[in-house]
């Protein structure tokens, strides 16, 4: 089951941190459809945050169609965000790994690469 880590100094709203962490786990396939999210009580017992904050995060995830609350049973993942396997391990993944290596050899820094990637995304995606 997913374990939330709340960073009180990040400046990101607590409920948003929970939403982000669930989405991140879905993208990485750590959470899959049918998995149950921890109850508000379980999250609160571990992190000492406000239970209504947890419920707010779950409502937001539900609005986005990622989870479904089943009365009396809990909140369950209903949709995956995991990328298709071939995207990660197939030619697309290989090509971008190769491109990043070449960018590094060309003397670009990590931020330069990220900026180039963002510009390309903004322009074409």
């Amino acid at each position: 089951m997913i374990d939330f880590r709340i960073d009180r100094r990040s400046g990101v709203a607590t409920y948003q941190q929970i939403v982000d962490q669930v989405e991140h786990a879905l993208r990485l396939g750590l959470l899959r459809p049918g998995d149950r999210l921890p109850t508000a009580k379980e999250v609160v017992a571990a992190t000492a945050i406000n239970p209504n904050t947890v419920l707010k995060a779950y409502r937001e995830l539900e609005r986005n169609g990622l989870v479904e609350a089943k009365r009396g049973l809990g909140t369950f993942v209903s949709r995956s965000l995991a990328m298709p396997r071939d995207a990660v391990e197939g030619p697309l993944g290989d090509e971008i790994a190769d491109w990043v290596r070449r960018a590094e050899q060309a003397g670009l820094g990590r931020e330069d690469v990220a900026a180039l990637m963002k510009a390309a995304l903004d322009e074409n995606f």
Binding site: V44, T47, N50
Partner: protein, 276 residues
């Protein structure tokens, strides 16, 4: 009354006068069921008076307070008998409360890792608080009021007590009103704020709304903000920092939403300035 639906607690023009003067006056607010409310204010602001009015330990001099849920109160001195064992203390709790849930109270004590046979006097501050909390929750309240429950506890015990309290609130939907001097304790835990100073309400409402209604403005000294929106301001030779009740950025100022601690401190400072 349909307007009362979902309201745990509502005060209207509530006031209490003792022989030495008003301890609380013109206190008006309402609190939805299931909320976790921080009650904040300097010593003598009227926090304990308000809690005692809500729990019915004292009667108002004027105005009224409506409590729509079954209340439990955990007083600051955590009334426990030092010579009693934990089990005896729970039995005392049972005999004083007709709707006592013994299984639940024992479970809470067990979760706290406190042995039933231990004498109250031998327990640590954190353990004593957990026992007092178990007794307060043992009557299955729908609204629990805690007066400085975290005072005198070390950071680890504070964290444990807070987690236990919030987990129970999450599990049962209990409304919680909690007073504390330690503002950082409240930042992530409370969704409502009630700030008292000099016996009056200075700020009340959902935390999220209150934060959205205020901005910390920084700008060059000499720049001004409409006086009626200023809560608290500090000026150095070149720079002014103002906490203002405004949702928009005033021209020329850098605006940021305050944290709950910044907001609370600004109001506490402002009320101290008025009193001086």
């Amino acid at each position: 009354m349909s307007t009362e639906a979902g309201i745990a607690l509502a005060a209207t023009g509530l006031g209490k006068r003792y022989r030495r003067g008003w301890a609380l006056r013109d206190c008006t607010f309402e609190l939805p069921m299931g909320s976790i409310c921080a009650l904040v204010g300097p010593n003598g602001a009227g926090k304990s008076t308000l809690m005692r009015l809500v729990t019915g330990l004292i009667t108002p001099t004027e105005g009224d307070v409506r409590v729509n849920q079954k209340v439990a109160f955990l007083a600051q001195d955590k009334p426990l008998y030092r010579r009693f064992t934990v089990a005896e203390m729970l039995r005392a709790g049972a005999s004083m409360n007709p709707d006592w849930d013994d299984t639940y109270a024992k479970q809470l004590v067990e979760e706290a890792g406190v042995p039933l046979g231990a004498r109250i006097g031998t327990l640590s501050g954190g353990q004593r608080t957990r026992v007092a909390l178990a007794i307060a929750l043992g009557r299955r309240p729908e609204l629990i009021m805690l007066d400085e429950p975290l005072a005198d506890l070390d950071p680890l015990a504070r964290d444990e007590v807070m987690r236990a309290l919030l987990a129970e609130a999450a599990g049962t939907g209990t409304t919680v009103v909690l007073s504390s001097h330690v503002l950082t304790d409240l930042e992530e835990t409370c969704d409502h704020l009630l700030l008292l100073a000099d016996g009056g309400v200075r700020l009340a409402g959902p935390v999220e709304d209150l934060l959205a209604q205020h901005r910390i403005l920084t700008g060059p000294a000499g720049l001004t903000v409409p006086a009626e929106s200023v809560v608290d301001s500090r000026t150095t030779a070149r720079q002014a920092t103002v906490l203002a009740r405004t949702a928009s950025a005033e021209a020329g100022w850098e605006a940021a939403q305050p944290t709950l601690e910044e907001l609370t401190l600004a109001y506490l400072r402002a009320s101290k300035g008025e009193a001086a």
